[in-house]
Amino acid sequence: MGDAIVGVVANPLSGRDIRRLVTQASVFPTAEKANMIQRMLTAFGAVGVHRVLLSTDLGGISAAVFRAIGRRSGQHRGQHGGQHSPWPDVEFLDGQPIRQSAQDTVEAVRRMVTAGARVIVCLGGDGTARVAASAAGEVPMLALSTGTNNVFPAVREATVAGLAAGLVATGAVPADAVTSQAKLLEARAGERVEIALVDVAVSTERHVGARAVWDPATVSQLFCAFAEPDAIGLSSILGQLLPVARHEPHGVTARMTPGAARQVLAPIAPGLVVPVGVSEVERMAPGSVHPVDARAGVIAVDGERELTFEPGEYPTVRLRPDGPRCVDVPAVLAMSARLGLLRRTGPNV
């Protein structure tokens, strides 16, 4: 068995939070997540990936892929045999208790790293990518969006993403040439630390509650690793004031005041374009540590309330340059074009 191994982790619960109710955020069906994985398997097979390590879940994604593999092997024995391009061997990462929490993603990614995965594809939203990044180490990540409310993962056809991941995993395209290290934000309250790939928001809410930050009036401070003008979500606010690209070393932070003279009309969630009051926008230098002003509240990482803090804890937010290594899909396929990796000759190849 070869060592061109790709890990695929899919979050069955992404895209199900309160934003479906308070805005018109999309519902991304489980069946479509399973379809994406199957389309990727075809792409992996086409470029010579040997083995795929797939996370298991109780949400029906891994079960649907398992059934699809069974159906294909049945078809190969029957009259349609040989019509499919081969899929790589798929190993289901089972045998561990499934907790139906972020811990499942962490465990799956750890096992992929240990088993020698050369790329880890992550299906979910910003939250899933964030959790996967915390365990991926130096293994390149390719984050694919399964919804409309994401900034970090790209909305991209899984077949094409699968080709890119496969070309990196087989070594046909050198990983160093087509990956770059993302920034990350580290939020710290006492001994507790959470990371964010896009933004850290300080909320005046007292409880984690329904998790998603969907009411800008509750946000008192915002930190962004990058802020693109065409983003969706909280980072779009600063994307309109002081845009920061993913590849730039610095970040941006601001204090939010509902009644501030400067208001930005921002798409802070799908279907939610609201004026947001912003005061004191400034750059975050790489490595710089910024205090949280509020005495008590909740810190949200990549749009999810996660870390509660009480008076006396004095949380901080730090911009770090050592985020996950990310696969640049267009760069992989551009290099493939230059090297002729997907070209074949003759009528019967």
Partner: protein, 328 residues
């Protein structure tokens, strides 16, 4: 502070009231569990322990205009809606002082004066009822909202799916709360629910669907608050799915050979009462002494309910022909 923040923050009194309701449900169910084992309680009982944050998180957003429909696992919904605990216990014991004069039992506790349309022995029996009450509220313009609780088993019933369709077509102030505790009797919902997430079905009916940690009162309260406000405002129905675990078997006496020991972990790590108490004491919103006082008060209330129920008379033969629509 903005209006939004003020609207969402719960007062100490509201928090204590929510804790009291959740603690009452837990104490009630733990006690029925113990009493059922003595053989004194007739019929079947299905206990709600573990799921308290769902009933209380939702019902704490309701008022006198609103109605709920419940399930065979209905004690929690009754208590959260304010049905008298003494009358409930008497009903479970089959006594004439019960909510339904001892003729309904655990699975038929109802109190229309509290907007509680009834526990329901029919799986998926509640959703059609709330389409009726929600339609009435809409026509009368009361601003009332109706909530149907049902389980993962009920989510697969035609009645539930038809009701969600009807509620959407009529744009009713109706909330569908799927309490997915993982098993329909003994059948795993990961096997029996084709869409895996019940909430995903909402898209097919043109309504929002959200999934919540059903062990977290604050998550439930926040989402229910928004869904109910939206429904009152003419925004139409919502489907909310709670993911959690019931602490006892499907019914009392269930050997539970179909599930591993997930209950111990849920009780230790996820329990709604423990998390609520830890969190509110940590933030200073409530004092431990207040919570302890509620615990003592609730324990006494349940003791009293059991003692009174046991001492109350059974219905007589003459009662057979009362409270019926038709005398044969």
């Amino acid at each position: 502070m903005t209006d939004t923040v003020e609207r969402k923050a719960l007062t100490g009194e509201q928090l204590l009231s929510a804790y009291r309701a959740m603690r009452t449900i837990r104490e009630f169910e733990e006690r029925v569990h113990a009493e059922f084992a003595t053989g004194d309680i007739p019929g079947f009982v299905h206990l709600y322990a573990g799921e308290e944050a769902s009933a209380v998180g939702v019902c704490s957003n309701l008022d006198d205009r609103d109605t709920i429909a419940s399930t065979h696992r209905g004690h929690g919904h009754c208590i959260a809606r304010g049905v008298d605990v003494g009358e409930m216990m008497a009903e479970i014991y089959g006594r004439s002082t019960g909510s339904c004069h001892g003729k309904g039992g655990s699975m038929h506790i109802a109190d229309l004066s509290k907007g509680m349309l009834g526990a329901n022995g029919i799986v998926g029996g509640g959703p059609p009822l709330i389409c009726g009450t929600a339609l009435a509220a809409k026509i009368k313009g009361t601003g009332g909202v109706s909530v149907a609780f049902f389980g993962d088993g009920g989510s697969n019933q035609g009645t539930t799916l038809e009701s969600m369709n009807l509620a959407s077509v009529w744009n009713l102030p109706a909330i569908f709360v799927a309490e997915n505790n993982g098993y329909a009797e003994t059948t795993s919902s990961t096997w029996s629910v084709a869409s895996d997430n019940i909430a995903d079905r909402a898209a097919g009916f043109g309504m929002p669907g959200v999934i919540l940690d059903g062990f977290d009162f604050f998550a439930v309260h926040e989402a229910a608050s928004e869904a109910i406000a939206r429904a009152r405002d003419g925004g139409g129905p919502t489907l909310i799915e709670m993911k959690f675990t019931r602490y006892f078997g499907h019914f009392e006496g269930d050997q539970q050979t179909y599930r591993a020991d997930e209950v111990a972990r849920a009780r230790a790590e996820l329990d709604c009462l423990k998390r609520f108490a830890d969190r509110t004491v940590q933030t200073g919103e409530l004092a431990q002494a207040d919570l302890d006082a509620v615990d003592a008060e609730v324990a006494a209330l349940i003791d009293q309910a059991v003692d009174s129920a046991k001492a109350a008379p059974l219905p007589t033969e003459a009662d057979l022909l009362t409270d019926v629509y038709l005398r044969y």
